[in-house]
Amino acid sequence: MEGIGYKILGALLTTLLAFTVGMFYAGFRRKIIARIQNRVGPPVYQNFLDVLKLLSKKTSVNHGIMQHLAPLWLITMSVSTLMFIPVLKDGLFFTNLNFSGDLIFLLYIMVFGPLGMALGAGQTGNPNSAIGVSRGLTQMVGFEIPWIMAIVALMIQYKTTSVTGLLDIQSQNGTWMMFSSPLAFIAALLAMPGMFRYAPFDIVGAPAELASGPISEFGGKYLSTMMTSGSIFAFVKLTLYVDLFMGGASNLIELVIKTFALYMYPVLWGAVSPRFRTEQAVRYFWGWPLFFGFAALIYAAF
């Protein structure tokens, strides 16, 4: 407890870090996909430009208060979640509030944003938005289950529900959980692309079918806020995975390496995949991932 000044500074730094890293990761993703498609691709800082451009739009429209608030919910969720995740194991600035929340809390606060976003999308009255929301929520039911199974398996196995607790156990045992409970890791990993909503799980946005789905009525400052939130949230998810399964990180370099390595998995998968239909996606998540989840649970319980 270094005092409130450090806290605020730490929070700002964490947010900035998450934003920067997330943006660059998104840029890398575009670049990588471009290279896979034998293109040059945009520069890696392209996403910064996009956000800046959107922010510099002179006008913006909304269809009502919920649409106005929708990006707000998203970014509130991303930043708040970030506050409760141990970014580094024991840094001065990056601990934030991670002692006062646990995994279940994280799981729940992570849906706060999508739900608010969905409300905003609903208010626009655009049928594409509503369809996108319907698909997105359905897909969420799909991937949450194996993901939760993996987490519950960890929690039951190590008798703690807090992320810091799990981190401590990993550093005590000297092994990562992706090795000590591999089944849970597999289940979580299989559920991961759904969380990132990259192909083949990009059924929510699906530009060709739904005209970008829920965000189809958002432009200008709203869209830029949402992109910011998205990049922060990508970082949040990656950090959470790293904390849970890869022993966390003790410095920023390690963090970046681990998260980037992890990030490559959905990106590369997505780069070469077509798109699932909604029910196919759910069936996928309730197939092998669920099996591994069950296996992990049984492994953890007995």
Partner: protein, 613 residues
């Protein structure tokens, strides 16, 4: 006279008063109802002596009324929710007919609930239980829709539950010679195994039925959605909690203390299954009322699971969820009622875009939905968290997954409710819809304020729960005003949560609103990007039919088996059997004479067996 008896008499008096008031004229009746809504809780909060007991003997049965802290907790729900619902009803039922009957039954069901919670013996418990049942039955069929199906189904299932309890009660009386609850709990350990199971399971069945647990939930969707919404808030919020109340003391006082934990576990499993299947059903409802009804069943499933597990934290979670469910389901049913009254329908495929017409109702439902979905930083999260933690601490991993599945799927219907009624395109059809009268909005808003406060300071509810749990044998339950802790010592600090979310929210709110404020335009919901096509006002582009079709395709194997169908087939089979049985009354006098002779001859032939000489 004792304050408890006076309380009962006051409620009964107000019931009669509002009935006769309404038969004179509406104003007089409404004044009586309003007085009831104010005075009954006032009396309860200020004058009722909770340490008092009243004993009396009727028809040779000793009976006793008196509060314990556990009953007081549930009374709190009744005494806060019901007056609000009554006030709401004043607005909701303004133009209805037969309001006298409505308020009479309403107040009588309050009387039943109040009585149940102060009964210290089975007879008065059962009496008040039945009063509650028939008064709610009158309200279920009040609107005259589906009387044959829903009404009879409700009554039959209620009767089944009540009579299961009745049977348990008489068996208990036969074994203990007393009707006191405490005598039963004390003697339970000495019963033979068969009696233990018989009484325990019968009681459990009775209570579980009221809390709409899975195989016997079929009465609930129809009953909840058919009742006038002013009452449904109480029906789902408070009345179903009577089952939870009973389950609480049965599971804890009996099974936990007699080491029959598996009975509680079975109950918990049933609760979890209920939660999942009811949630799936709720997702595909097109009527907001039906959706809320199924959602109620699912939520009760969580509560029952919490109670059934029987650890300290899980019961704490169950009771907390019970309180919260009363609040948010109260708001939601009230909101559905307000929409029904103002817009004329709650069909989510028809009604759209009421957010700007009914902002207060929308706000209240938004808060309630967030609480229902269990998303921080509102009160619902606290209960969900405690439930999960208790299950995880207990190692019930499969149950955790089911509850998680259910509450994740709950986002679907939560969203559908808000989207279907309030969001989407604003239609000229609903151009003239006005916000509901203050009589209706104020109760909703009060309850949503409560939900917001419990998000950061659930301790105000914890206090009563901890008190109540002393009567279940859990002394010194730890609770803090705004920190949640599980059995492994992991905790969530809700003030930090609220603070962090609040700060971020406010910062970005200011940024987002201030940035380009003058150049931010409001456009109507008809102005959407649709490949340049101009949408005419009468075109409804809202996507609300088959909203979750893909999910329905996924769940088809589960959903195609409806348990209602089995019940209906059973009912038809029984009916056919009865029809066959009554053929015995052929209508031919000679046949009847023949029966007489045959009966006589049979008796004479078997007289040796009968009389054993």
């Amino acid at each position: 006279m004792s304050s408890l008896v006076i309380l009962i008499l006051i409620i009964a008096g107000f019931a009669l008063l509002s009935y006769f008031g309404h038969s004179i004229n509406k104003t007089a009746g409404n004044i009586a109802v309003f007085a009831a809504a104010v005075l009954i809780p006032l009396y309860w909060f200020t004058r009722v002596d909770f340490s008092e007991t009243v004993s009396f003997t009727i028809s040779g049965f000793q009976m006793e009324l008196g509060y314990n802290m556990y009953g007081k907790l549930f009374s709190l729900i009744v005494m806060i929710l019901s007056p609000l619902a009554l006030i709401y009803a004043l607005g909701y039922m303004k133009d209805s007919k037969r309001t006298g009957t409505f308020y009479f039954s309403f107040l009588f069901s309050i009387l039943g609930m109040t009585g149940i919670l102060m009964s210290r013996d089975f007879i008065s418990l059962f009496i008040f239980w039945e009063i509650m049942t028939w008064s709610s039955y009158l309200l279920v069929i009040f609107l005259g829709k589906d009387v044959e199906k829903t009404g009879i189904r409700y009554m039959v299932f209620s009767a089944l539950g009540a009579y299961a309890m009745f049977m348990a009660i008489v068996i208990i009386h036969r074994n203990t010679g007393s009707m006191m609850l405490n005598d039963y709990f004390n003697a339970f350990g000495n019963f033979s195994t068969g009696t233990k199971f018989l009484t325990g399971i019968l009681l459990m069945f009775g209570f579980a039925l009221k809390s709409a647990v899975m195989p016997v939930h079929v009465w609930a969707p129809g009953a909840y959605s058919n009742t006038p919404m002013a009452y449904t808030s109480v029906f789902s919020g408070a009345l179903s909690k009577m089952g939870v109340y009973g389950l609480g003391f049965v599971v804890i006082n009996l099974f936990a203390h007699a080491n029959l934990h598996f009975a509680g576990t079975i109950l918990a499993w049933l609760g979890a299954v209920t939660a999942v299947l009811a949630t799936f059903s709720a997702i595909f409802q097109d009527d907001a009322k039906k959706l809320l009804a199924y959602s109620s069943i699912a939520q009760l499933g969580y509560i029952v699971t919490g109670i059934g597990i029987g650890t300290e934290l899980s019961i704490f979670a169950g009771l907390y969820l019970a309180v919260l469910h009363a609040a948010f389901k109260g708001v939601l049913f009230m909101a559905a009622g307000a929409v029904e009254r103002q817009a004329g329908s709650t069909d989510m495929t028809e009604v759209t875009g009421l957010i700007r017409k009914m902002p207060l109702t929308f706000f209240a439902s938004l808060v309630a939905i967030i609480a229902l979905a269990g998303v921080p930083p509102l009160g619902g999260f606290v209960g969900k968290w405690m439930l999960y933690e208790s299950l995880i601490n207990n190692g019930n991993f499969l149950m955790v997954i089911m509850i998680f599945l259910s509450s994740t799927a709950a986002f679907l219907y939560s969203y559908k409710f808000l989207f279907g009624l309030f969001l989407g395109q604003e239609e000229p059809e609903f151009e003239n819809v006005k916000e509901a009268s203050p009589l209706m909005t104020i109760p909703m808003l009060l309850l949503s304020v409560f939900l917001m406060i419990t998000g950061s300071f659930p301790g105000i509810v914890f206090k009563y729960i901890a008190e109540g749990m002393t009567d279940l044998g859990f002394h010194d339950v730890n609770w803090q005003m705004s920190v949640l802790t599980n059995a492994w010592g992991d905790s969530v600090n809700l003030q930090h949560v609220t603070l962090s979310i609040g700060v971020v929210f406010v910062v970005f709110l200011i940024f987002l609103t201030w940035k380009g404020y003058k150049k931010t335009y409001y456009v109507s919901t008809k102005d959407i990007s649709s490949s340049g096509e101009v949408i005419k006002p009468e075109d409804n582009m809202t996507y609300s039919t088959d909203f979750y079709k893909p999910f329905e395709r996924v769940l088809h194997p589960i959903l195609k088996r409806k348990i209602e169908k089995y019940y209906d087939e059973f009912g038809e089979g029984i009916g056919a059997l009865f029809d066959f049985m009554r053929r015995i009354y052929t209508g031919n006098g000679q046949t009847y004479a023949f029966y007489v002779i045959v009966f006589l001859v049979i008796l004479l032939v078997f007289s040796k067996n009968i009389f054993g000489y």
